[in-house]
């Protein structure tokens, strides 16, 4: 009985210690990556190449999802608003929900599953095929040459994608709301302009997406670098990237929203 209890407690303690150790490793990895970012920023061609793979190739999914999210928002929002006779407020609903929440969050989730998983798989596979070890043999720092450019590319791409997602979503909302349902075009845009503040809403949305970009790419490069160098290891690292970064986005979103939007009177 005592031996069984000892066993269970041991497992629990081991699991917790392993988690904390990994967290510490991730933090040290983050610091080391920032220290060795000089190469990524000086030889910017490396980073541009990664922006192409992380950002440009994610454009299609981001733009199409943005369009459809905006269109659905307009349809559902109109259903509810017209019951209270305020269907002109559709523009406000679509714009505020996209710019404040859905733009950064959904773009972040899509970015994590489209680009984050690819980054993890690529770095993990480089490790499995011993390309990373080969680089170290040639006195090339793999963190400066492989990891840092991917990290900065993710951090740069993420806000750009979130902005495009929001813009496309508002266009989708305009298509459905004004062109299909027939909400007055002037009221749609002017009410939106009266309610959306550049600093309070748009800038805060961009700040959110930058934070998500840092979180997602950090998790992606770390999981890739830390993956077991086997086929199985790489696949489980890719899964962990998507799961962890999705959870991180949602949790960070709650914290940031609580800090940024504390209601009209509390300011």
């Amino acid at each position: 009985m005592v031996a069984k209890l000892k066993d269970v407690l041991g497992h629990l303690g081991g699991a917790v210690t392993a988690r904390i150790w990994r967290l510490g490793f991730a933090s040290r990895f983050f610091g080391y990556m920032l220290l060795h970012s000089g190469t990524a920023l000086r030889r910017f061609g490396l980073t541009i190449r990664e922006i192409y793979f992380a950002g440009v190739l994610s454009l299609i999914i981001i733009l199409v999802s943005g369009l459809f999210v905006g269109m659905v928002l307009a349809l559902q929002g109109y259903e509810t608003l017209q019951r209270y006779g305020s269907s002109e407020a559709l523009g406000i609903l679509v714009a505020l929900s996209l710019v404040r929440e859905l733009g950064p969050v959904v773009a972040g989730l899509l970015f994590a599953s489209r680009a984050g998983s690819a980054i993890t798989a690529e770095i993990g596979l480089m490790k499995a095929t011993e390309q990373i070890a080969a680089m170290e043999m040639m006195a090339v720092d793999p963190i400066a040459r492989v990891v840092a450019p991917r990290f900065w590319a993710g951090v740069i791409s993420m806000p750009l994608l979130a902005v495009l997602f929001s813009a496309m979503g508002i266009f989708g909302g305009y298509l459905v709301g004004v062109q299909l349902i027939g909400v007055d075009e002037g009221a749609f845009w002017s009410q939106m302009q009266a309610a959306v503040d550049v600093r309070e809403d748009i800038l805060n949305g961009v700040i959110k997406s930058v934070v998500f970009g840092v979180a997602v790419t950090w998790i992606a490069v770390f999981e890739g670098y830390d993956a077991q160098p086997t086929a199985e290891g790489v696949s489980s690292a890719t899964t962990r990237t998507v799961v962890t970064s999705s959870l991180a986005i949602l949790a960070l979103d709650f914290v940031l929203t609580a800090l940024m939007f504390t209601g009209g009177n509390a300011r």
Partner: protein, 159 residues
């Protein structure tokens, strides 16, 4: 894919994103309408501001001429002190009246300015003398009920 093509695609991507940001700032947000214009500050005291909030519009003849900058409570006169940011392009006489109004029946609250006839114009830091508080629906209903009750009583007495 060669280097030049990648550069072009990334350039297009960044340019599109900045166009998107410009669209958000100009067409969706209120950057084009106000925040760059010169303003001057005027204060007014209200007995009751209802649900007036910071950044609520200030309208004269239905046109937005400024925004509410600050709402405070004066602990000496027990009144609300509202600070207005008015666009410098619009000058108002010194005896302008300010009212807290509601757009529509249940819409947002805003401040309506009615220009007076004074020859001297308002300057930054001035205080508006003539103010009218927000209409509180509960007060209105109770007033209506009291009047109704009084009328019924009068009608009975005259019979």
């Amino acid at each position: 894919m060669n280097r030049a093509a990648i550069d072009i695609w990334v350039g297009l991507f960044v340019a599109a994103a900045f166009a998107g940001l410009l669209f958000l700032a100009m067409k969706v947000g209120n950057l084009a309408s106000f925040s760059t214009a010169q303003t001057y500050q005027v204060q007014a005291k209200f007995a009751n501001i209802g649900g007036l909030k910071v950044r609520a519009p200030i309208k004269s003849a239905g046109v937005v001429v400024g925004r509410v900058a600050d709402v405070r409570f004066d602990n000496e006169s027990y009144e609300a002190i509202v600070t207005f940011n008015l666009d410098s392009r619009f000058q108002f006489p010194r005896d302008t009246a300010a009212k807290v109004l509601t757009s529509g029946l249940l819409g947002e609250q805003y401040v309506g300015l009615e220009a007076g006839g004074d020859g001297v114009m308002l300057k930054g830091g001035d205080r508006l003398r003539l103010t009218q508080s927000a209409v509180v629906l509960e007060n209105l209903i109770s007033q209506f009920l009291f009047n109704k009750a009084a009328e019924d009583k009068d009608a009975k007495e005259t019979k």
